[in-house]
């Protein structure tokens, strides 16, 4: 299978990052909207997860960290150098690892599934695979060389 050009990978990374920003922003707004948070009677998975003690770290909604991660990934897609490749990979790796942990919590601790959280986890997994491909394929190369490899 032919390695896609780094330019192609960067564009896909940017696109997926924008989707991720959208999902994480929606989760943040949905959690904080409507006044004080409440535990909802007969709530579905998203309300259960949002109201669990795992949904915040130091008072900050976890989705905010997702927004930060996706913004960093978007930024890394603008540059074709080793710093951007490794930086993007590191952020995607951390985001992927955190998504695995959060999914474990949803299934085994909270015992409820939030579709939006799953969507963000899928997007972060895609980011991890894209950034790993980019790093493996183009680490150590300059932009001209990486274009030529395509």
């Amino acid at each position: 299978m032919k390695m896609p050009s780094e330019w192609t990978l960067r564009r896909i990374i940017a696109f997926v990052a924008v989707l991720g920003i959208g999902v994480a922003t929606y989760i943040t707004i949905a959690d904080s909207g409507g006044g004080a948070p409440t535990c909802l009677a007969g709530g579905s998975g998203c309300e259960t997860v949002a109201n669990s003690s795992y949904s915040h770290i130091a008072g900050v909604n976890i989705a905010v960290f997702g927004i930060v991660g996706y913004v960093l990934l978007l930024a890394s897609s603008f540059f074709a150098n080793d710093a951007a490749r490794f930086g993007g990979f590191a952020v995607a790796l951390g985001g992927f690892g955190f998504s695995v942990y959060l999914t474990y919590l949803e299934i085994f601790k909270i015992e409820a599934i939030c579709q939006w959280c799953v969507a963000s986890a899928v997007l972060m997994t895609i980011q991890f695979l894209l950034n790993a491909t980019r790093l493996i394929g183009y680490a150590g190369t300059d932009e001209v060389a990486s274009a030529e490899r395509a």
Binding site: A36, C39, N51, F89, V100, Y104, A139, G140
Partner: protein, 256 residues
Amino acid sequence: MSGQKEREKRRDQRLAEEAEVSTSDRRTRLLQMAAGAVFLVVVVIVVVIVVNSSSSDSGGDAENVSEVATVDKLLDGIPQEGLVLGKASAPVELIEFGDLQCPVCKEYSEEILPDVIESQVKSGEAKIDFRNFTIISSESIPAGAAAIAAGRQGRGWNYIELFYRNQGEERSGYVTDAFMTSIAKGAGVKDIAKWNKERKQKKTTEEVEATFEEAKKFGFDGTPSFAIQGPGTNGVELPGTLQSPGEFEEAIEEAS
């Protein structure tokens, strides 16, 4: 001349080879770092998950009820009648519909209501009436009934506050007889046998169910939810979302 060109050509070749080796080294280093990072993240995730699975929860532990002294200090000297905290003569009644398993109610209990209790409840301006609105799970019903039974011995609010501060994970099955008994003992319920008998009585459970229905009639769908009545209100009114001690104090003043 050709000798000089030869030398320059060899020099260029040598520089190109050195650049290629340098790039290859750099690439190898980066990939090694990436592999190391992946290994580290995998280890961290595995450790966190294993520790999380095996360690006991910080709350919901019948053997380890904490913050008894904090609750005693908070409520010291404030009269209680059933699940009403404050002087019976207080003109304003703040009604809290809560679920003892609700983590948001726990936050209110720990971070918002203490200021209201210290200022307006202690001074006799208001009293707080806790009513069960059991929405989290079926375990909330025996928890609420146990609070009512503790209230019959004048320790209802001690029970409620201690329960909140020792909450376990939602729906994890931590609300056992052993856990509730530990809370009751920590709350200072004197006659545990009487408390045990009364909490299991049908009339106590019916009281829990009745306040659930009352909350639904008010249109509440979450906890904690608040209602208020006093000289300045037209019967029982809904003050809306109150998110800070200041907002509670304002609502109580308006109802005075």
